[in-house]
């Protein structure tokens, strides 16, 4: 089914010559199969829960740090795809980060590709997904603000501050600030 389903795209740090592409799906029927393909490393992409994402820029900031860490060989996790998930979370505990932002039984998913030059595997992988692709503009109907606030510790915030700003600022300082 093809509707107005352009992916979110963002050019990452120019030194990495990499582009991020993100697709949103709902009512996915083969989540367990997808999860296996991610775990065994046969799918070169990150699959994340949309419920903890308030804006695609949040994913771009995490992906950017992941590709830079890969380039400078300073990754904390094994692959650039798991590094993206790790960068989304505020904890330094790897398995907690991956289980929090990765998919479990959720039937809505975000599929993130890191495309540099000519290794674009996105179309091969996407055709294996048995679900309905949704426009990126509908992301907010998947966001669970209560979970976002507890994950990013935003419960006592003054209402004026912008959530996205504070989320990305906390993400990029997690290696040296205890949030």
């Amino acid at each position: 089914m093809v509707t107005n389903t352009e992916p979110y795209t963002c050019n990452l740090d120019p030194d990495t010559k990499t582009r991020l592409e993100v697709y949103l799906y709902k009512d996915v029927k083969n989540v367990e199969n997808i999860r296996q393909n991610i775990i065994n490393g046969s799918w070169k992409c990150s699959v994340i829960k949309p419920s903890l994402i308030v804006n695609m820029f949040q994913v771009a900031v995490a992906a950017n740090r992941a590709v830079l860490a890969e380039k400078s060989q300073t990754m904390i996790t094994k692959t650039v795809y798991s590094e993206l998930l790790y960068n989304l979370s505020l904890t330094k505990n790897i398995s907690q980060s991956l289980s929090k932002f990765g998919i479990e039984k959720d039937d809505s998913i975000l599929v993130c590709f890191l495309i540099d030059g000519n290794n674009d595997v996105s179309q091969e992988i996407l055709k294996e997904i048995d679900g309905e692709q949704c426009p990126i503009s509908s992301l907010n109907s998947f966001t669970n603000m209560k979970d976002v606030k507890s994950t990013y510790k935003l419960n006592n915030l003054k209402s004026e501050v912008c959530l996205l700003d504070i989320i990305v600022s906390k993400m990029v300082t997690k290696s040296f600030v205890n949030h």
Binding site: V61, S169, V172, T173, V177, H179
Partner: protein, 238 residues
């Protein structure tokens, strides 16, 4: 890919660039290498400064003080990538531009901003954030909702203006009352040297600082007065 960096400013500690990064207007603050330092020492000092700056920026956000959003902290390239407020004016330039008017309404606007500054500094101090370089160049005014008002009047429309605090390069986290007193004294000196045509500005800011919250205020005032007396003595001795 819009990769080109435009240099905005070269300061004593850092070079500032602007660019589009991850699709957003971004300001890059890059600290230079200091050749008079041993390279390892230089790297570790720079890393500490970058951490301090980023830590205080995030802490301010949690405290409800507006600061630039952080997009990347890069120790290797000695850079902080942050939100660039393209449509902003420093409080310094705002005050300097006021000179051309003597309108009473404009003076009331300055009072509104003085109160805002006082409350904001107090909020930082209540959260133990010591800025370390409180000057009117390190405060920006931005619009809450972007308007089409002409540049020379839009900054007077105070109900639509927010204060942003920047340049946390000398900041640190400390609970001591002394450091808060010094922070206030630094601000007073900066105002005297930059805005001597508004001699009451600091006292207006200080009043707002005091009335924002009563916690520890006596101790802070008394520390500030000690620091000020010592500063006086120093300037008299020369």
């Amino acid at each position: 890919m819009s990769a080109e960096l435009k240099i905005l400013k070269q300061g004593a500690e850092a070079k500032l660039y602007i660019c589009n990064y991850l699709g957003k207007p971004t300001l890059i603050k890059e600290r230079f290498k200091k050749n008079y330092r041993h390279p390892d020492l230089d790297t570790s000092i720079t890393k500490e400064r970058i951490k301090n700056e980023a830590r205080s920026i995030v802490r301010c956000k949690t405290a409800g003080v507006k600061t630039p959003a952080l997009y990347l902290v890069d120790f290797e390239r000695r850079r902080i990538y942050m939100e660039h407020f393209e449509h902003s004016i420093t409080v310094k330039d705002f005050i300097i531009n006021l000179k051309s008017t003597t309108n009473q309404g404009d003076m009331n606007t300055l009072d509104v901003y003085a109160d805002l500054i006082g409350g904001t500094v107090r909020k930082m101090h209540e959260n133990n954030i010591i800025h370390g370089d409180l000057t009117t160049s390190n405060m920006l005014l931005i619009e809450k909702d972007p308007s089409n008002i002409a540049e020379n009047t839009k900054w007077l429309n105070h109900s639509n203006i927010e204060l942003v605090i920047i340049d946390f390069g000398l900041s640190f986290i400390d609970t001591s009352v002394e450091d808060k007193g010094v922070d206030l004294y630094v601000l007073e000196r900066a105002l005297i040297s930059t805005h001597n045509d508004y001699p009451n500005l600091f006292s207006r800011i200080f009043e707002a600082y005091k009335s924002y919250s009563k916690k520890n205020i006596k101790e802070i005032i008394s520390k500030y007065e000690d620091v000020r007396a010592r500063g006086r003595k120093r300037t008299m001795v020369g």
